[in-house]
Symmetry: C3
Subunit: 141 residues, 3 copies
């Protein structure tokens, strides 16, 4: 019934499929479901992306224009073509991923993610479309 795998010791894995080359996908609800399933009330939730051309960040989840601006502007800052040497041609995706980061740490409090009102957790696909993995580790403490 669950669309995530429980690997034991508070470690979970799920898959995210993009259908565009560059895409922001809201994964907040998936992570909330995992937090609830873990039963942990206080601690840390670490979201980790085991890829090199995809990343994770937090962003506003209200106006979709924020995401459109986000994708467009980072694409201007790190252009897709810029005389790169890497034979796969996706060096921009590597750099953008490092700039955004491969992990996001959120505090757990009273059994819930301690996110701000407008915060959502986003998977960032920079070289799609692909199916990717996301790891979530719940640490009690």
């Amino acid at each position: 019934m669950y669309d995530y795998e429980d690997l034991g010791s508070g470690l979970y894995c799920f898959r995210v499929s993009s259908h565009e080359h560059t895409q922001m996908i809201d994964i907040t609800d998936k992570i909330k479901a995992i937090v609830t399933a873990s039963g942990v009330r206080e601690g840390l939730c670490t979201v980790f992306i085991p890829h090199t051309t995809a990343a994770v960040t937090i962003n506003e989840n209200a106006d979709p224009d924020v995401q459109a601006d986000f994708i467009k502007e980072i694409g201007k800052i790190v252009p897709w073509e810029d005389g790169y040497r890497h034979y796969e041609g996706n060096s921009a995706a590597h750099l953008k991923s490092s700039m955004m980061g491969f992990s996001e740490t959120v505090i757990l409090h009273e059994g819930r993610l301690l996110l701000g009102t407008w915060q959502g957790i986003y998977f960032l696909e920079y070289d799609g479309s692909r199916t990717r993995r996301v790891y979530v580790k719940i640490l009690q403490g």
Copy 2:
């Protein structure tokens, strides 16, 4: 007497008020005070910003010119006006926050933050002036 809230289970919250639109505010001493109050000797200290247009980073705390350069240069990289669609007009603040990150993890050792000699922890306001919240989670281990 304390200017932070103790929410239990090693979780603390305090407020930061900016008085400029874009500002770097040194919060190292506040976090040091919380670490001391927690009584934890070994573990991790996670600083989390529950907003989408403010962030946290580490930077040099010696020469204030570093901060002036930091603010100016990131403002050149992500210009405030650039044909953004988001109706609030603060898309640059969203992107800069994601580039800097919403959390900072510092190791605790012998009851203190294991910071380098020149490192300070900075709250980054990108759409002020406002009063914001900062969460600090102390995890023993």
Copy 3:
């Protein structure tokens, strides 16, 4: 025999020497050795850089051209000379370090770093050549 220091409570320190001004150094094997030495099977591994002009990231460890592109492109985005005020002249190194981040959190599973197939952990020197410290904290849970 070990080229790292065991500071107790799952905290380790080792040194990295760069021989260029800007350099990416693969530290994955060093961190793997520490993880093995710790004996911890499940938990979190936090890599922390106690400097303000060096950072840590994850990147592809297959084609060295990715690293060359990475160094060159971030150097275009944050130029070394740009009218900075900081008297040491290394403001670009401060900003690049904050953009990449001073810590990286990797999940531990079954006694190993839960890295993706192509992921390596890189120390980023932005104002070398120098000898720097890297802290590694292993948290069981």
